[in-house]
């Protein structure tokens, strides 16, 4: 099998004034992912190369990089799929570079936190004091399940044209998570999230370029979530939004006789 050329972005703060590209030759083997290639470089060619990864199976969202000009998870990208022998790997754009391929995802996490990404329960009371689970239909589950698959990798933020200039724009991931909780029937915090998404740098700076959904490695479709959030906000501000009934907790299971008679000796003794 042919050798591959990895063009990797290098940047060491304090030493380099700006990032530069360095080339490595990596032997191809079947099933090699871009992350495998980087690990090969680190183990055999240059142990100063820095990148971040953990699960190596597209679960943790650590290894987001710009691979051949498209944001992708390095562990999730087999080299064969790229259809080329030259692989350009850069740090995720729109995020500050800590070193080499390691992007600082703090801005993402801060914004994610700022949109209240948890179930807010004003009417139904404290989540910790509940005595039974909530009832939820399959349809209600479907309304947010897709958005709940987000692994916070930040690829969508790297793809979004608005994030590329506006550091305050909330961005696809946080807005998508905002909607994910607004549409959950257990939640009563939609209003407070609407207020946050309504800022000058909120949901209305999304122009449906759809790049976020295209880049998302988990099929989350943040662009869809954001449009549904806009719809909910428009309907809400026109007072047309139907207030969803808060979810009802299941009744505690009544004391009842066991269905199958239990032989005496297994209970006594």
């Amino acid at each position: 099998m042919q050798d591959l050329t990895f063009r990797v972005q290098r940047y060491l703060p304090g030493k380099d004034s700006k990032p530069y590209m360095q080339e490595f030759t990596v032997p191809m083997r079947q099933g090699l992912t871009v992350l495998d290639g980087l690990i090969y470089i680190k183990e055999n060619l240059d142990n100063t190369l820095s990148f971040r990864s953990s699960c190596r199976m597209g679960i943790c969202g650590s290894c987001g990089m710009l691979i051949n000009n498209f944001p992708m998870l390095a562990c999730h990208t087999p080299v064969e799929e790229l259809n080329t022998d030259t692989i350009t790997v850069k740090s995720l754009p729109n995020f500050p570079i800590i070193r080499d391929l390691v992007a600082d995802l703090d801005p993402l996490f801060e914004k994610h936190r700022s949109i209240d990404p948890y179930i807010v329960m004003a009417e139904t009371g404290d989540l910790n004091k509940l005595t039974a689970q909530f009832l939820q239909s399959g349809e209600e589950l479907q309304s947010y399940l897709q958005f709940a698959y987000c692994v916070k990798c930040g690829l969508c933020m790297a793809a979004c044209p608005t994030v590329s200039t506006d550091e305050f724009f909330l961005g696809p991931q946080p807005l998508c998570q905002g909607y994910r909780y607004c549409t959950d029937r257990r939640d009563t915090g939609a209003k407070q999230r609407f207020e946050k998404a309504d800022s000058g740098h909120g949901v209305w700076l999304c122009h449906l370029a759809g790049a976020c959904s295209e880049a998302c490695p988990k099929g989350v479709d943040p662009a869809l979530a954001i449009q549904l959030l806009k719809r909910a906000m428009v309907f809400d501000s026109l007072r047309l939004r139907k207030k969803p009934e808060p979810a009802t907790p299941a009744q505690p299971i009544a004391e009842s006789k066991p269905k199958i008679e239990v032989p005496e000796f297994t209970v006594k003794q």
Binding site: P96, I97, L145, S164, E214, K218, D221, A223, L224, K230
Partner: protein, 149 residues
């Protein structure tokens, strides 16, 4: 916003694409570039309207100054400019119509559990886009023919 969400940029090398990222951000498909086109046509129309309003001022000068102005603007270069304005309007209006519909969640469908290979809702509804582009092209050609004849 009160978060220090940009704090990283003070500590590390900012790596924002900047305005360049509006025009070309990577290997994306069509909506990403329609977004750029919408922005360019919008700015173009705004510029034209400003010029148009200034031109209107010549009406205050009476029949003579108006006729002078109109004959000044009758050259082929200006004719072409006029056509570009029409084309920009057609693009901006139709794409804008699609954007309003889709911003309000219409024609996008419902959330679906992601099953590999993932297809997002915009791509699932691509035919809508093709129809829109077809109408834009048809109208632009029609107007061109009208202009030439």
């Amino acid at each position: 916003m009160t978060t220090n969400a940009t704090s990283g940029e003070n500590r590390h090398l900012p790596n924002r694409l900047g305005i360049k990222g509006w025009i070309w951000g990577g290997n994306y498909t069509i909506e990403r570039y329609l977004y750029t086109l919408h922005r360019i046509t919008g700015l173009g129309l705004l510029l034209y309207i400003t010029l148009h309003l200034v031109m209107n001022g010549f009406r205050l000068g009476g029949a003579e100054s108006w006729t002078d102005l109109m004959s000044f603007f009758s050259g082929p270069g200006f004719k072409f400019g006029e056509y570009l304005v029409m084309a920009a309007f057609i693009i901006h209006a139709l794409n804008g119509g699609r954007l309003i519909l889709q911003h309000l969640g219409y024609t996008l469908g419902k959330p679906k559990p992601p099953v590999y290979p993932y297809v997002d809702s915009l791509r699932r509804r691509r035919p809508i886009l093709w129809i829109m582009l077809f109408i834009i092209a048809a109208l632009a050609i029609y107007v061109l023919v009208e202009f030439v004849t």
